[in-house]
């Protein structure tokens, strides 16, 4: 029955049915084959979404929508420009810097991609090719779910259950995220020197940095409040994300004063649409997972894997390979709902640290957002840049390779991932 469902899912998806409905058709076929009552469908779907932790998905998207309308991006860009704008290929570095700043207040790569694309695509494409500009912004947007807060990590921790804490997973992402942004800036420098890109920024001045930092202070305080509150245990991740929305509203209404009440309905509807795309997949994916469990697929998979290897490293390599393929076909949130319940317990039984495995899992699927055919971040930036998926794919591969390289480094040196959460007592 499990194989029938997988086969039908792939068939429907390749014929162009949206992925959420392909999962639904697969789930229904599983129910019919096993002779179950169709009434498991609505209850499973509803209960998959009826979860307090998942509410952080719309909240973080909404916080991002409001920040964009509140003109927060411009302040982050000004700060990044003051800090790194004057070197060769400076605008690419500004994009990375702005992406880093944005990632500390936002938790979703797709939201970051539209925020970065909407504000920086114009300036970047004035000096660089559209493909390279879009690729830089896509790579910068991908920092969103790696550096806390992270919607992806919240969903992972929720599905994995009590062995993974959201705060711990957040902290696991900090060091790899910083290494990644450094590596990507080196990549941009190399590219800038090879292509001899022009210098664009004003000359370096500490006073200007100080001035811009003061202007951005209210934004830079936001992660201190939101992440600090979540990691410190003052509130849950979902409550933190709601506070992020309120914080963004306060900045928009009283600090930048660019936000108007009439902006809010559009922001709320956009949020609902984004969340529904994810929610539809989670709802149907959970029915598929439920049918797989009834089919005893998790046990079969576990015993099969144990026969193949007893080495945790080999197991992690297999999982990495599976996720690279899955990342091509599934939106990442649906992949968490379907695969974490299967693979997380097996990883723990191999003696792999839950935070280490969780971070690698999330990182892998985050990279998948940059690879065609279902690279959601690529789609957003293709839309903004008005270029085809081929053009951005040709420019994105160095960043994707760098990310996979870092993934393997993190796999073999768990200290990079685990030092910070351990130091904080997770």
């Amino acid at each position: 029955m499990t194989l029938t469902m997988i086969g039908i899912f792939f068939l429907a998806a390749i014929l162009g049915m949206p992925l959420a409905f392909s999962l639904g058709v697969a789930a229904v076929s599983g129910i019919l084959v096993s002779g179950f009552g169709l009434n498991v469908l609505p209850s499973r779907m509803m209960n998959a979404v009826n979860a307090f932790p998942l509410m952080s998905i719309p909240f973080f998207v909404l916080a991002g929508e409001i920040m964009m309308k509140a003109g927060i991006m411009q302040r982050l860009i000004d700060l990044a420009n003051a800090a790194v704008g004057q070197v060769k290929g400076g605008l690419a570095h500004v994009a990375m810097g702005a992406g880093l700043g944005l990632s500390t207040v936002s938790g979703a790569a797709v939201a970051d991609a539209s925020a970065l694309g909407g504000t920086l695509m114009g300036p970047l494409s004035k000096y660089y090719s559209r493909g390279f500009s879009a690729a830089v912004l896509a790579a910068a947007a991908n920092l969103g779910p790696i550096i806390p807060p992270s919607g992806a990590m919240i969903v992972y921790a929720f599905v994995a259950g009590s062995t993974v804490s959201v705060g711990g997973l957040f902290m696991a992402g900090v060091l790899p995220g910083l290494i990644l942004v450094t590596g990507m800036m080196v990549l941009c420098s190399v590219y800038a020197h090879v292509k001899d890109l022009p210098r664009t920024g004003e000359s370096f001045s500490l006073r200007r940095i100080a001035r811009e930092a003061r202007r951005s202070l209210v934004i830079l305080m936001m992660p201190v409040v939101v992440i600090g509150g979540i990691v410190g245990g003052a509130f849950t991740a979902t409550e933190g994300s709601a506070i992020a929305v309120v914080y963004a509203l306060l900045i928009g209404f009283f600090v930048t004063r660019q936000l108007a009440l009439k902006d809010l309905p559009e922001a709320l509807v956009n949020t609902a649409i984004t969340a529904a795309g994810v929610g539809a997949m989670i709802a149907f994916a959970s029915v598929v997972t439920y049918m797989m469990t009834i089919d005893l697929f998790p046990m079969q998979l576990a015993s099969w894997l144990k026969e193949v290897t007893t080495d945790p490293i080999v197991f992690m390599l297999i999982v990495t390979g599976v996720l690279v393929v899955v990342g091509c076909f599934l939106e990442s949130n649906a992949a968490y709902v379907m695969l974490v319940p299967l693979l997380h317990p097996i990883a723990v039984s191999y003696g792999i640290d839950p935070l280490h495995f969780g971070f690698l899992f999330v990182f892998n699927l985050v990279i998948g957002m940059l690879t065609p055919p279902v690279g959601v971040v690529l789609f957003v930036l293709c839309g903004v840049a008005r270029i085809g998926i081929g053009e951005i794919s040709r420019a994105i591969w160095p960043f994707v390779l760098l990310m996979y390289a870092l993934l393997f480094v993190c796999m073999f040196f768990p200290g990079i991932v685990l030092t910070l959460p351990r130091a904080l007592g997770y």
């Binding site: 429907a12 998806a13 390749i14 014929l15 162009g16 049915m17 949206p18 992925l19 959420a20 409905f21 392909s22 639904g24 058709v25 229904v28 169709l38 009434n39 469908l41 609505p42 209850s43 779907m45 509803m46 979404v49 009826n50 979860a51 307090f52 998942l54 509410m55 719309p58 909240f59 909404l62 003052a234 509130f235 979902t238 409550e239 709601a242 506070i243 929305v245 309120v246 809010l264 309905p265 709320l268 509807v269 949020t271 609902a272 649409i273 984004t274 969340a275 529904a276 795309g277 929610g279 539809a280 709802a283 076909f329 939106e331 065609p372 055919p373 279902v374 959601v376 789609f379």
Partner: protein, 168 residues
């Protein structure tokens, strides 16, 4: 086909009104969720009290926001799919493929709606934990969202058949 073409305008008009209603529900539910969750934190730290129904009602609003926004997202073409194969087909073949695929998705959502209504009405007398509201309200959202989704997909299958459900 001529009859179908004549029906297009009234069908579109009805679906547009339903879409506007669904968007209204999204604004109210997501706005309400933010207000309730933020108020809960405020109540806990500032008033030293907590709102008993905050968790359950915010989840109810969340479920409604998700399932009512699914049809809205169908109309805006926001449900992602793989267009690797369909993009390479000539326009005629693409439409010929998109019609049955979209119709199948419509049938799926109709099935979801039917089952949801059935289960929701069967448990209508059960109450929620923290307030005197029917527990069936949760599943009602799945039914209403499923029905609206089915209607929009059916319209796409008959009139548009782009495969992505994007508004033509």
């Amino acid at each position: 086909m001529a009859v179908a073409r004549g029906l297009r305008q009234p069908v579109d008009a009805v679906l547009r009104v339903l879409d506007r209603l669904a968007r209204g529900v999204c604004v109210v539910t997501i706005g309400g969720m933010v207000a309730i969750v933020a108020a809960q934190v405020f109540a806990r730290y500032v008033l030293n009290n907590s709102i008993g129904w905050a968790d359950e009602i915010s989840r109810l609003l969340f479920v409604w926001s998700i399932f009512l926004a699914i049809p809205v997202a169908i109309r805006t073409g926001n449900h992602i799919g793989i267009e690797l194969l369909t993009d390479r087909l000539p326009p005629r073949a693409r439409a010929a493929l998109a019609r049955p695929v979209t119709a199948l998705a419509a049938a799926l959502m109709l099935l979801v709606a039917w089952q949801s209504f059935a289960v929701a009405f069967a448990q209508w007398d059960e109450l929620m934990v923290s307030v005197d509201l029917s527990a069936g309200l949760f599943l009602l959202a799945v039914g209403v969202g499923g029905l609206l989704s089915a209607l929009n997909l059916l319209r796409d299958a008959v009139f548009v058949a782009t495969g992505t459900g994007a508004d033509a």
